[in-house]
Amino acid sequence: MTACSRGMLTTEFRLFMETDQCALLKPLHSLLLERPYLAQTSPAPLCSLLKSGFNQRVTFVAFFLLFLTSLHSFAYEVGTTPKGNASGGCPEFFLGGVAPRVLNTKLQPGYRQLCFSGFSVGYSPISKTPLWSAEHLTRESLRMAKGLRRVNAFHEETRLPEQDRAFLSDYAHSGFDRGHMSPSADQSSERAQEESFSLANMVPQNSNNNRHIWEGIESATRTWTKSQGELFILTGPLFLGSHVQQLKGRVMVPTHIFKLIYDPQQRKASAYMVLNEATDDYKVIGLGELEKLSGIDLIPFLQTDQKNTLIDLPRPTPHQEHKNSGWD
């Protein structure tokens, strides 16, 4: 086993490589590269030996984050919401401070809301996915998110009872991506970013979809936030049709994915909706139609007559952001 972390190679090798041409150094490069791997039977001491200052800093930050997260778990535990208060404990992510309400009774068994520092999810232990993930994006929060270096980890949501959680092993060998509902790149702090990798914020997503059309929708949403100043976003899966797919007999695969955007300037909302398959197609639907499909009152703060006007959503623009962002 070999660790591919930054700082894996020796300093003298790194300095040497940075002052010469890669091609000319290939034989020496290979030799030096192989040297640490010869000790592969005991990777742990090898890693300590090779760890750079960077890795030590990461370790410190990681411990600190763990400390914060453990405090956070106590502070933010939220029970089932249908009978709880309207915001579920984190009103800042919802228009008017009111969290979505599940209307379809088949979605309700075990349904609960979880608050994180940058978003909130409504989680179903039946699908073992979120049914929605809510964010309140602002120009300022995105400015803070830009340039955050990310060394993160997908993880199981330990605040959920074990029998209700999705496991990392559920997604293994499936060919599906773990698709973020609230994206990591939207998060304005390291803690929020780390938390966005919780499986409570993931659905099994077609990999082509996740990396192209969906990435474009996420990018376009951030770009639009910067021009509008603030947006309320709800992202989630749809499970439509008489039969659906399931990973390892546990995690349900959505048939569609939506991203609902409420623009406070226009006081209206519309949603991108895509099939969960390799596609470049998307459609824009109104909030009223989306609520019928999802079985959830997604923005209870709005009156019914405010839910049926479409607004223009920007065209998805894959990989158009952060073209000049720094390395770290």
Binding site: T2, V151, P204, S207, G241, S242, Q245, Q246, G326
Partner: protein, 86 residues
Amino acid sequence: MKHLNSDFIPFQNESQVITWGEFSAENRVDRVTLMGSIDLTKDREGLAKAIELRDFIECVIYSLQSQTLVDQVPKVSPTWIKNPFE
């Protein structure tokens, strides 16, 4: 702490993610997924990025070369169930 370990050992787990700007590497037990975009600019920063990426890829190659490989890694297909929400 376990899920925040920064040592990326290819194919060892389903959790680790390293991100370089808009470009990232995800560890899976059956694959290492690279996604996003990255500019290797004609400057010192571009060189530093290129070296890091090369080191990373070589590490993955070494890991692959160090084990017995099948022609194509098998996938577990999802099963169809009656939709519990309909």
